[in-house]
């Protein structure tokens, strides 16, 4: 089906399974190297890893190897089964989000009409994993971290959904492929040369969405569930070795998945202005374009993360309920009026 090849059912299944792994691990690894290792180092006037491979590019493999070697410790008082389950639950949610993200006209895992609805719903499951991890660790710091994560999720899911509603109204569909098509073929006040990328026409929505993403991903300034100077490392305090690595991968893979959703919603997804929207070449070019846009958004996320100090939990709730949600509602109202008017 893809690139004119006809594959058997099992062959597509294998390709899809590998594809999901690549879709999750490739952005995660790239972001860790580019942003966590290198960008932050340059921001903080240091070099970062330089020894493993050219410019430390193999450092990631060394780190993974280190974590795999480490002992897997389960605390005595921990709820063993839940303790072991939690990291897998968190990683699994990231895999699920990627299912609905389109990478090209035909490059996608599922074409689902309720795509964005599904993506937002599924992404909240990770909070359940975090809460389980916090509870099962039998550690007070972990418990506080888990509870903070749950509280944060409730506060930030709403502005995120409301920000997306603006996009859905403008595109007229909840299908992520449809949203990409609407942006590629749309017109901004009669000018169609660039399509209608929503980061211009839905700018307020995008800002709210990115702020909510920052909170959802527990990145600074909203990293209270981890808060290493207060809660040691919050819900991951008791985890070690492979399970810690899973949480770590999940964190950065989640950055990738939310960056993919944000790139699709606000930056036109895999489409580029100038290249015909559903030409076959986009099946190959599309993933690269999407990755580039994801990196851009992840860059913003990490730039904020390494610049700002941390809010307090109650300040975060106040910020969400008194500023973000009213602004998001106003954004919906304005979008609706303009949609009717133009």
């Amino acid at each position: 089906m893809i690139l004119g090849l006809h594959l058997a059912y099992w062959q597509t299944s294998v390709i899809r399974s590998l594809g999901v792994l690549v879709a999750v691990l490739l952005p995660a690894g790239t972001f860790v190297y580019i942003f966590l290792f290198k960008m932050v180092s340059f921001m903080q006037s240091r070099l970062g890893p330089m020894e493993a491979g050219p410019y430390g590019s193999m450092q990631l493999l060394a780190e993974v190897g280190k974590f795999i070697q480490k002992e897997d410790i389960v605390p005595d008082n921990a709820d063993r089964r839940l303790f072991k389950l939690a990291p897998y639950l968190v990683v699994a949610t990231v895999l699920l989000v990627y299912l609905v993200v389109p990478f090209g006209p035909k490059m996608r895992f599922v074409n689902f009409d309720g795509g964005i609805f599904y993506a937002l719903a599924v992404s909240s499951i990770s909070a359940l994993g975090v809460l389980i991890a916090g509870w099962a660790s039998a550690n007070k710091y972990s418990l506080m971290g888990g509870l903070r994560a749950a509280g944060q999720l409730i506060a930030y899911e709403l502005p995120m959904v409301l920000a997306v509603v603006g996009v859905v109204i403008q595109a007229g569909t909840m299908n992520l492929s449809g949203i990409v098509a609407a942006q590629a073929n749309g017109k901004m006040f009669g000018f169609g040369g660039l399509g209608n990328p929503y980061f211009i026409t839905q700018f307020v929505g995008m800002v709210i969405f990115l702020i909510a993403v920052q909170a959802e991903l527990t990145q600074t300034p909203f990293d209270m569930p981890i808060a290493e100077s207060e809660l040691v490392t919050g819900y991951i305090t008791e985890y070690s070795g492979m399970r810690f690595l899973l949480f770590f991968i999940a964190e950065f893979a989640a950055v990738g998945s939310f960056a993919a959703v944000a790139a699709t919603l606000f930056m036109g997804g895999w489409a580029v202005p100038g290249i015909k929207f559903d030409s076959g070449v986009m099946n190959v070019l599309g993933p690269i374009v999407l990755m580039a846009k994801m990196t851009l958004i992840a860059g913003v996320i990490f730039f904020v993360r390494f610049t700002y100090p941390r809010f307090r939990e109650d300040q975060l709730q106040k910020f969400a309920w008194t500023i973000l949600i009213p602004v998001a509602l106003a954004n919906i109202l304005v979008t609706t009026v303009l949609k009717v008017a133009f």
């Binding site: 921001m43 903080q44 006037s45 506080m144 600074t220 700002y308 941390r310």
Partner: protein, 391 residues
């Protein structure tokens, strides 16, 4: 053999029991007891904070000190006067030179010796460099406690230049051990003054950078303004000193108010106070303190008198009988030595008054009813060094 292991077992049981007593005081029906430390990232050292929580709100919070007690006051009794220097260097390990000065001054007071003017000026310069090295790290570290990682690295980067200057004179980056009774070990190396002035200019840039990155940041202000307010009278009754006291609006600086024979009165600088008494004002006052310190160093470097750096003192130092108390305004606050001499080679008794011990004692008062994250920011803004608490 068995006796020793029994004694060890008994010591272990005793330690456990002591631990248990502290825990028992806090173990009640409602609420949760959170044990921060002795190993906790926010206590930079081994301070233990036992907090009784209702949700995230602190009902009562108690600092437990003594995990790093090294018995300096007792150790000093079996050291000669020159040897004491090495030991007291380790009290406040970020601004080590400032620990030596009050003890040396107290000894000089007992002996009736006065260091020549050049030695006094160099002492003051090194004292202020120690202050800059110490407080510039605080400026980054406090931001780190609130999640702002970048400022901490900037602080480490620029403190390095100050340490290089201290190393160029004394040979030691952290523990100079440079002060001698009656003067100093050595003079400045050639070209040092020009280098230092360049470093001071750089440090002023660092202060501007911190002002942009941290002080002007809305999140930092939201986390510190109106948090952990210590009124002036409370601050005085708990014996707070240094920037913590000045941030509560009490205009009190030993450098200006109690001349001890160093060169601070020779130059033009300001003692900054802040009326609010909250975490933000403590941070702000310290930021200004670094700026003023760079000014002091610049002025002293310009007007450095010539002459010897050592007064005439006997080769074997014997301090005549008597008692002396000298306190100076150290980076963390008032630090003083009460030296009792019986005419021996070493001091008979020494009482060390360190600033952090008193500064920390206000924690139970100031943390009532705040949230757990605020405990961390208040701790960070009170600024303590474990060696300075436990000695």
């Amino acid at each position: 053999m068995t006796a020793i292991s029994d004694r060890q077992k008994l010591a272990y049981v005793n330690a456990q029991a002591a631990d248990g007593r502290v825990n028992l005081e806090f173990e009640t029906e409602e609420g949760m007891t959170l044990n921060m430390g002795p190993q906790h990232p926010a206590t930079h050292g081994t301070l233990r904070i036992v907090a009784k929580l209702d949700g995230e709100q602190v009902i009562h919070c108690e600092p437990v000190m003594g995990y790093m007690h090294r018995g300096y006051e007792k150790l000093l009794e079996v050291r000669t006067y020159p040897q004491v220097n090495t030991l007291v260097n380790r009290i406040d390990w970020l601004g080590s030179f400032t620990n030596e000065v009050p003890f040396i001054l107290a000894s000089e007071k007992l002996m009736g010796v006065e260091a020549p003017p050049r030695a006094q000026w160099i002492r003051t310069i090194l004292f202020e460099l120690g202050r800059i090295a110490n407080i510039s790290l605080f400026l980054g570290d406090t931001a780190l406690h609130m999640g702002g990682m970048t400022a901490a690295f900037y602080a480490f980067r620029d403190r390095e230049f100050v340490l290089n200057q201290i190393e160029a004179v004394t040979g030691g980056r952290f523990h100079p051990n440079f002060d001698r009774i009656g003067g100093l070990k050595d003079d400045f190396p050639k070209g040092w003054i020009a280098d230092t002035k360049a470093v001071m200019a750089r440090l002023r840039d660092f202060c501007d950078e911190i002002e942009d990155l941290v002080v002007g940041n809305e999140i930092f202000q939201a986390r510190t303004r109106g948090i952990g307010i210590i009124p002036g009278d409370i601050a005085q009754s708990y014996g707070l000193s240094g920037a913590n006291l000045r941030a509560s609006g009490v205009d009190w600086d030993l450098r200006r108010d109690v001349p001890v024979g160093l060169a601070w009165d020779q130059c033009d600088w300001t003692v900054w106070t802040h009326p609010d008494g909250d975490s933000f004002s403590r941070y702000w006052v310290r930021l200004q303190e670094v700026r003023e310190a760079t000014k002091i160093v610049d002025q002293l470097c310009d007007g450095l008198p010539s002459g010897p750096i050592m007064a005439k003192v006997p080769r074997i130092i014997k301090v005549p009988e008597g008692e002396a108390w000298v306190a100076t305004e150290n980076p963390l606050g008032e630090m003083g030595y009460y030296v009792v001499s019986k005419g021996d080679l070493g001091p008979f008794r020494v009482k060390i008054r360190t600033a952090s011990f008193n500064n920390i004692s206000v924690i139970p008062w100031v943390t009532r009813g705040v949230y757990v994250p605020d405990v961390i920011s208040i701790l960070a803004s009170l600024y303590f060094i474990l060696g300075d608490i436990d000695r």
